[in-house]
Every structure is written in structure tokens, then in C-alpha cells.
């Protein structure tokens, strides 16, 4: 089959790879109908996330049709149109039972690698390095889906593929940030990053009762999109001092909940950005945490900061003093999608949640490398490119 493969740092290409097969009884094979580019893929492509191997298939946000099931699959059947959570999780360990699916004990066969990086292994992820299991990704014609009964969800009729695909990752990630960030009625929520995940976090915050939601980015087209589709306030950080702007808009208090949806390759302005770029280039820090720093500093006393953006290792100049002295709650996670996807698909089917606008570009799989170039450089207003095999 054809698949978009990582061939080395900043090198992608469509290759022929072996068709996937059922390796475990609880596997299903899914024929991919649509697979989205994600900002976190850029960290893999750029070599910032370790444990990639030339020939690895990228992609973790996808929708498809079940074409084969292992003998242990009970709930799914051939022909089902399913959205598959980007996290591979068993559904029966204590973490899964507690709703913390991305921490699954049994979803990552390469457990020693995750333990070496983070102290304990996490669950698996599709197309996301060998530290998270080495599972082949979804920018391909077919994907093997382990623990299929727990990770694949039938999609209601009436939601088209290019909208439903975001229920795989961007929407549940955003929802998780707002929910576990503790958004509640009357809150003011600030979201760093107006990409698909940031927009979905902003929407989710509104659904959970936030009275005001403010989205921060430098890309005018994304901010306009958030304003137009979600009715949120925006801040262009290249045009103003974000901290001062937030203080002014919140009566001097700061936002109740700050959601960071940017991750380890944050852009910014001023000497802090230059400092992070140089340190990351010299491998003296692995991640550029400028948005996370800003979120911590801007958050109100006793507020909550949630890290949705992907970080992999070590950062420098992190304002830990602000966390302690302001009494902040800081949390983060890869998404616990299995916990939210059925509810979110229902909301999509009811028309309460619109995601189609996020797919600014749809392209055939064979143009995958070009899609990532467009997406990385944010050309032509690209928020997400969706690939069709």
C-alpha cells in the first residue's frame, strides 16, 4: 500500500509499505478515508521528538472504514465507518478505567523507551515515534487498529469525513484541556494558539460555561477564523503585550484558566524567543516553552494552567516561582480521547459542533509532503490539510 513516510529530519515521501495485518485478536484493519495533518507531527518531522526510524508512517488523526476484524473484536463490524482515537489504549487497566486513557499501561509495547524519557511509559500513539509504541500511522491506505473495540467509534450518518476526522484528536484534545483545566461557569479563559486544537479548546471552554474566551496567536487568518466560527475574542501577540492586554481585559485579575495549545516549537517575539531558538538549536533545551511561560505568568492567582501543546523533554527559564507563589494548578496530558469521543460525535451530529472549517486544504495522499510544507509554513491560510488516500 501507499503511505507517507518519515525519511529523515525534514524529509517526507510517499512509499510503498507492506499492508497491515491483524497481529492481535483485538485488532481491526481500517481503510483510511481521511487523515489530517497535526501540529505535533511537525515536531516529529523536524527531529525534535526522538525515536523515529526512516520509513515510519506518519499520521494519527483519522477516519476510515473497518475492512477486517480479529476474532477478539466484539463491538465493531466490517463496513463500520469509524473515527479512531489517536491514542492506543487497552480500556481495562486502572488508568483507562479512571478515564486517563493516554496513560494506558498496556498500549505501548516499547515501554522501556517511554520510561527512560518520562519516568514511566505512556500509552501508545499512531505514527508517533517508537517511544510511543512504533505503531504505523494513518497517512496510508490502511491502518492496523489495536484494541479496536476501545479505540474506534462509529460515526453517525450526516457528518462528512472531513469534519468527523477531527473527532479523532483535535476536538477531544481541546475538550480535555477545558475540562481538566477546570473551566466552570463565569470563567474567563485564555487559549494560546489558534490552530485546530486551540480553537476546539476555546469552543469547549464556552460549552463548559466560560463567559469570556480569548484566543492568542500571531496569524491573522486563524484569529479571524476563531472569531468568525466561535465568537471568541482574540489577541495578536505581535501587536501588543499579551500579559498587559489580558490584565486590562480582566479587570486586573488575569484569566481564570489558561490553556496552552502551542507546544515545543512556540514562536514569539523579543529576546526570549531568540534565546529559546538558540538553546534548542544547540540542543541545550529540547522544547521552546514561550507560550507556557506566558500562560503561567498571565494566569490569575489561584488559577489553572493546562498544557495541551506537546512537550517532550527539558525547558529552560520556566517560572516555577510563579506556579508556587500564585498557587497555580498546572496540568497537562496527551489526550484521553476515548473518554470524550462518543459525546463529541453526538454533538457533531446535533449540529452543536462545527469542525469542517478546520480542513482548509484537502489533498490526495500522494501530495502528502507538499501538504506538510503548506501546513508548516502556514501558507495560503492553512489550518489543517486533510489527506485522502
Amino acid at each position: 500500500m501507499k503511505a507517507l513516510c518519515w525519511q529523515g529530519v525534514n524529509e517526507l515521501g510517499v512509499e510503498r509499505v507492506p499492508d497491515p495485518a491483524v497481529l492481535n485478536d483485538q485488532d481491526a484493519i481500517v481503510r483510511v478515508r481521511a487523515s489530517a495533518t497535526c501540529g505535533s507531527d511537525l515536531h516529529l518531522i523536524g527531529g525534535y521528538i526522538p525515536a523515529m526510524q526512516a520509513g515510519d508512517v506518519l499520521g494519527h488523526e483519522f477516519i476510515g472504514e473497518v475492512v477486517e476484524t480479529g476474532p477478539g473484536v466484539r463491538r465493531l463490524g466490517v463496513g463500520d465507518r469509524v473515527v479512531v482515537c489517536s491514542v492506543v489504549a487497552c480500556g481495562r487497566c486502572r488508568y483507562c478505567e479512571d478515564g486517563l486513557w493516554s496513560l494506558c499501561d498496556n498500549g505501548n509495547p516499547n515501554s522501556g523507551m517511554g520510561a527512560a524519557l518520562w519516568g514511566y511509559e505512556t500509552g501508545g500513539l499512531y505514527g508517533y515515534s517508537h517511544a510511543t509504541g512504533g505503531f504505523r500511522g494513518s497517512h496510508a491506505e490502511y491502518v492496523r487498529v489495536p484494541f479496536a473495540d476501545y479505540g474506534a467509534f462509529p460515526v453517525p450518518d450526516g457528518i462528512d469525513d472531513d469534519a468527523a476526522v477531527f473527532a479523532s484528536d483535535a476536538v477531544p484534545t481541546g475538550w480535555m484541556g477545558a475540562e481538566l483545566g477546570g473551566v466552570t461557569g463565569g470563567d474567563t479563559v485564555a487559549v494560546w494558539g489558534a490552530g485546530a486544537v486551540g480553537q476546539m479548546a476555546a469552543w469547549s471552554a464556552g460549552q463548559l460555561g466560560a463567559e469570556r474566551v480569548i484566543v492568542i496567536d500571531r496569524l491573522r487568518d486563524r484569529l479571524d477564523m476563531a472569531q468568525r466560527h466561535l465568537g471568541v475574542e482574540t489577541i495578536d501577540y505581535t501587536a501588543t503585550d499579551v500579559g498587559a492586554e489580558l490584565r486590562e481585559r480582566t479587570g486586573g485579575r488575569g484569566p481564570d484558566v489558561c490553556i496552552e495549545a502551542v507546544g515545543m516549537e512556540a514562536h514569539g517575539t523579543g529576546p526570549q524567543h531568540v534565546y529559546d531558538k538558540v538553546k534548542q538549536l544547540l540542543r541545550l533545551e529540547t522544547d521552546r516553552p514561550q507560550a507556557a511561560r506566558e500562560a503561567v505568568m498571565a494566569c490569575r492567582k489561584g488559577g489553572s494552567v493546562f498544557l495541551l501543546g506537546v512537550f517532550v523533554g527539558l525547558v529552560d527559564k520556566f517560572p516555577l516561582g510563579a506556579v508556587m507563589n500564585k498557587g497555580l494548578t498546572v496540568r497537562g496530558a496527551q489526550q484521553h480521547g476515548q473518554r470524550y469521543i462518543p459525546m463529541l460525535l453526538e454533538r457533531m451530529a446535533e449540529g452543536a459542533l462545527q469542525t469542517r472549517h478546520l480542513a482548509t486544504h484537502t489533498m490526495p495522499l500522494r501530495r502528502g509532503a507538499e501538504a506538510y510544507e503548506l501546513f508548516k509554513e502556514k501558507r495560503d491560510g492553512c489550518v489543517r490539510a486533510v489527506l485522502h488516500p
Binding site: 525515536a51 498496556n106 520510561a115
Partner: protein
């Protein structure tokens, strides 16, 4: 002025010497009281989301209990939600086989124990041990990564 500088230098010199001596004393004292840190003496453990009687009846757990020189302990986890399985080599079963070279060569006897503990947990909780697709490494970096992946199930913290 000259005698003043001489006295200050002497005082500072003595203070530095005293500080160094105390540091050495502290280090020697700590060595005497430090708990045994030989990794071979540590229990390797996983917590299984199943009742102790289910775990005790599992054939893989019984097989572990039959490994010569391996002591296996089953304990209900706090809160009564799960069961801890812990294993430790006793006697000289590990003698000379646990250094970094043994680990790199994949000959450390604790590696198969870690793997067995993880696999047992997965079988008990899910009914299967998840496999990953084979890769076809084509660069030196890829071959290194593939070797790491093959080894990782027997490594890491338990």
C-alpha cells in the same frame, strides 16, 4: 597593611581547609549509613488491575514462581483495587550478570523478568500482549532504534 593582608589570607585559608575536611567527614559518614543500593536487591514490580485470587491462579504467574532463584511476591495493592506482583532474584543468581555490558548484550537475567511481569499484567488485564508492526530499518540510526525497541520491553523502571 601587609600584616593585615597576611592575616586575612591565613584566616580564609584555614576556613576553606576546615570546610573541605568537614565535607570529606560527611561523605565518609554517609557511606557508612547509606541503605544498600545494589539494583540486584530491588524488587521488580507491576500492579495488575485484578483481584489477588485471580492473579494467584494465573498460569503465567505460576511459571514465574517456578523460575529457579526468583522469589515472587503477591500483595493486595492499597485500596483493594489491584494486586502487586513483585519478583527478585535471590542468592547469587545474578552474580556477575548485571552490569551495563550484560544489559546492552541482553544477557541481564532481570530483562526477561521485566518482560514477563509486563506481559503477565497485560494478559491478565486485556487477554493479550500487544504486538507492534515489524520495521525494516534501512539506516544506521534506524537499526539502532530497532535494537532499542526490541530491548525496551525488558528495560525501564519496574
Amino acid at each position: 597593611m601587609h600584616w593585615l593582608a597576611k592575616n586575612v589570607a591565613l584566616t580564609v585559608g584555614v576556613a576553606i581547609l576546615r570546610f573541605m575536611l568537614r565535607a570529606v567527614e560527611r561523605r565518609i559518614a554517609a557511606r557508612g549509613t547509606r541503605p544498600a543500593s545494589d539494583p540486584a536487591e530491588r524488587w521488580l514490580a507491576v500492579t495488575v488491575n485484578a483481584a489477588p485470587e485471580t492473579v494467584a491462579a494465573d498460569p503465567q504467574v505460576r511459571r514465574l514462581q517456578d523460575v529457579p532463584g526468583l522469589k515472587v511476591r503477591l500483595t493486595p495493592a492499597p485500596g483493594g483495587r489491584s494486586t502487586e506482583i513483585a519478583a527478585r532474584f535471590t542468592g547469587d543468581a545474578l552474580a556477575g550478570r548485571t552490569g551495563p555490558l550484560s544489559r546492552i548484550a541482553g544477557r541481564d537475567p532481570r530483562q526477561p523478568v521485566r518482560r514477563a511481569l509486563r506481559n503477565t499484567k497485560s494478559m491478565l488485564e486485556t487477554g493479550e500482549v500487544l504486538r507492534t508492526e515489524p520495521t525494516r530499518p534501512r539506516t544506521p540510526g534506524g537499526r539502532f532504534m530497532a535494537a532499542l525497541a526490541r530491548r525496551s520491553g525488558g528495560e525501564g523502571r519496574l
